[in-house]
């Protein structure tokens, strides 16, 4: 009987303990991944030797016979998709940007970040399975590198790089790589995504190589002493399709915490933290109108690497006194002028700009008619205070000037890269390079070009700081003109906004009550003194 009672008590305790444990968020992925059921180094087909990347892929596909078909459906392969919110075709081939421009006519250089091999011109075969690059994402040796100019291929022979430097770079050992595959780590994703725009930290502002080994202050999720997560813990893949998009970033994740109803799309804070994760109700109120990132990423480019903030293509082509193309470095060693690319400005620890976003990005295509009478926003985001789907999001706003067709009023494909007479980087002549790019792309070009100032919004969503480093309340709730939300004027913000009539009349009432009292007191003192004199 007593034993029975004990059992019930113990059972109750266990239930209680279980409930407590369930309430504590698990540090995701801090434990090593479970051991694979396959040791790839023991597979005969992976022993090589492999002469090329495609040969490695064929070996992979011998077992993973659906993998290439899956990858071929992903944006890592197509660079082309339809924005589900607007129905508009987007992707690197068609969407305008104000960094490098278009990959069209510049393929071998740009496609060094394509998840494939051999996209060297517009005739690339997107249906050939062995063109899929498996090891770019799955290499665990860290030695695999798609080189910058070979259309997605790694080195196969020793090569002097850069040319004339006398430095001979050895090709990677493809057999060793094929035998050391695993889940993608930070270095795999970072090889391309940290280097967007042509170099480390250039493009996103919140993605650079400092995230390979970040401190807890830089990224609370990826730090070894934080949650120690990797990119794919949030950017979950479903049949090789990654979650998360900047063309159609999710403005509001109403699905909330993924478990137990897992949609395996964890590229949102809410997927793990839920919609209202704060202890204080007043802080939770903010989640209705503010994206998590707005408070929890106080600045971007915090890892010691500068991101590009301004790129002016209009000044490209200058030569120095020696007649050679001019390159100027600033005091931090960054290129501030490049004859190939024009003027640059950089930023570190940059405070984001804040805008409403409701899930709709109006991405300009290079074929769209544009209004050249004002600054062109290449990917305007929609939303307002009254829009139930909108939240205030943080953005890096990239500014710059880029070439366009002044007659047809379209942006242009600029042929910058290539060992030929027309590319901008060999002869510094826009006349030729734009004509060559547009002809190659099969797009109409009037022959007249100018430069238009453009802006581009980049969602700031990485480099999440620890909670104690979140934006303090008074940086938004302030009358100061440089308050973080100074640009968000369509709602009442306590601490910033006031009714001038109420404040004026109220101020007068308080001044009146103090002043009136003081005057009254003065009269009392004077009259008492006179009374005293009379006595």
């Amino acid at each position: 009987m007593i034993r029975h009672a004990h059992a019930i008590l113990l059972g109750g305790l266990l239930v209680l303990l279980h409930a407590v444990a369930a309430a504590v968020p698990l540090p995701a992925a801090s434990a090593p991944h479970p051991a694979s059921t396959t040791d790839h180094s023991k597979i005969e087909a992976l022993k090589g030797p492999f002469k090329t990347g495609p040969e490695v892929t064929q070996a992979c596909l011998a077992c993973h016979n659906q993998a290439a078909h899956q990858v071929m459906k992903s944006q890592h392969w197509t660079w082309d998709s339809i924005n589900p919110a607007t129905g508009k075709r987007v992707g690197k081939k068609i969407s305008a940007n104000n960094f490098c421009g278009s990959p069209i006519s510049n393929e071998p250089r740009c496609t060094s970040c394509h998840a494939g091999y051999g996209w060297k011109d517009k005739d690339f075969d997107f249906t050939k399975q062995e063109n899929v690059d498996c090891v770019a994402c799955h290499d665990k040796t860290g030695s695999y590198k798609k080189i910058a100019t070979d259309a997605g291929h790694p080195l196969y022979e020793p090569r002097e790089m850069p040319k004339g430097s006398g430095k001979i770079v050895q090709p990677p050992d493809l057999a060793k790589i094929a035998q050391s595959v695993g889940k993608p780590g930070r270095e795999n994703c970072g090889a391309c995504h940290f280097n967007g725009g042509g170099g480390d930290a250039v493009k996103h502002g919140d993605l650079d190589s400092s995230l390979t080994k970040p401190s807890r202050d830089l990224d609370v999720h990826m730090a070894a002493d934080g949650a120690n997560m990797v990119c794919a813990d949030c950017h979950t893949f479903n049949a090789h399709i990654p979650s998360g998009s900047r063309y159609a970033a999710q403005a509001k994740d109403t699905h909330g915490i993924d478990l137990p109803n897992d949609d395996h799309n964890r590229a949102s804070c809410e997927s793990c933290h839920g919609g209202t994760p704060h202890k204080q109700a007043q802080i939770n109120l903010h989640t209705d109108k503010l994206a998590c990132q707005t408070c929890h990423i106080p600045e971007y480019a915090r890892g010691g690497l500068a991101t590009k903030m301004w790129w002016d293509w209009s000044t490209a082509g200058k030569r120095g006194p020696d007649g050679k193309p001019l390159f100027i470095k600033d005091e931090h060693g960054h290129l501030s002028y490049s004859a190939e690319k024009g003027d640059f400005k950089y930023g570190e620890n940059v405070r984001p700009e804040y805008k409403w976003y409701n899930g709709i990005v109006r991405q300009v295509a290079i074929t769209d008619k544009i209004d050249d009478s004002k600054i062109l926003e290449l990917n305007a985001v929609e939303g307002s205070a009254t829009d139930p789907n909108a939240k205030v999001w943080p953005f890096k706003v990239m500014r710059g000037k880029q070439p366009y067709d002044t007659v047809n009023k379209t942006l242009v494909v600029n042929h910058v890269y290539g060992n030929d007479d027309t590319s901008l980087w060999s002869n510094f002549d826009y006349e030729k390079s734009i004509k060559a790019g547009m002809d190659y792309a099969g797009l109409p070009y009037s022959g007249q070009y100018g430069f238009i100032e453009t802006r581009m919004n980049w969602f700031i969503t990485h480099m999440v700081a620890p909670k104690e480093k979140a934006v303090p309340c008074q940086q938004c709730h302030t009358r100061s003109e440089d308050g973080r939300l100074a640009a968000i004027t369509d709602l009442y913000l306590p601490g910033r906004d006031r009714n001038i009539w109420i404040d004026t009349l109220g101020g007068l009432a308080i001044a009146g009550s103090i002043g009136g009292s003081l005057i009254h007191a003065l009269f009392r003192i004077l009259s008492r003194r006179r009374k005293g004199d009379e006595k």
């Binding site: 009442y492 306590p494 910033r496 101020g507 009550s513």
Partner: protein, 210 residues
């Protein structure tokens, strides 16, 4: 001029008054910081302190309302227009002429007619304005479930709350100043602390005459 002492403020009443005073002062200071008038504690701490004080004051009021009704003290707040003019005349003229106070403070009637009107205005107008808007402000997140979404704008609620706060603050300064108009400069304040107030004897004789 001689004086005598009466026991006018009971222990609970004094406790209530001073804890309310402290809470109201804290809420004025933090409230105007939240409004953006100055920065002192930082917005977050100010909000937290303001909200906590509001809840404490609500609890205090719950006890006080109970106390007012069980002791019958609520009658002290019933207004009367009689002798209001005499009070106005005293504050604007008599007080400078060393004229006798037209109101005799007693245990049954501890507020002068002007005071009653002021407290009634506070209770009937400023309090509902501040509390109503304050609670709506606090429960902004529940507007949808309360069926208020679409009917109210945060801006209106905030403006009402700020307007109430200005009135409350103006009241506060006049209230503090008028504590100096007793038998002696500190007679009213001493009474609020000890419960015992010194009142003029001539008040007593004036009462007898009428």
């Amino acid at each position: 001029m001689s004086a005598h002492r009466i026991y006018i403020y009971k222990r609970y009443e004094r406790f209530w008054h001073w804890s309310q005073a402290l809470l109201v002062i804290v809420m004025m200071i933090t409230g105007f910081e939240i409004h953006g008038s100055y920065s002192l504690l930082g917005f977050e701490k100010a909000v937290r302190l303001h909200t906590t004080s509001a809840w404490v004051l609500l609890v205090l009021w719950a006890f006080t309302i109970f106390w007012q009704f069980t002791t019958g003290e609520w009658k002290q707040y019933l207004p009367s227009l009689r002798n209001v003019f005499a009070m106005v005349k005293y504050y604007s003229y008599g007080i400078f002429m060393n004229a006798p106070h037209p109101f005799k403070k007693t245990v049954e009637k501890k507020h002068n007619p002007l005071q009653r009107l002021a407290y009634l205005a506070l209770l009937a107008f400023i309090s509902p304005l501040v509390w109503g808007s304050g609670l709506l402000y606090l429960f902004y997140g529940q507007w949808a479930s309360l069926g208020l979404k679409g009917l109210l704008e945060l801006e209106w609620v905030a403006n009402a709350h700020v307007a109430g706060a200005f009135m409350m603050t103006a009241f506060f300064f006049v209230h503090v100043y008028l504590t100096t108009t007793g038998h002696t400069l500190t007679a009213h304040i001493k009474a609020m602390i000890t419960g015992w107030e010194e009142v003029d004897d001539h008040d007593l004789s004036a009462e007898k005459k009428s």
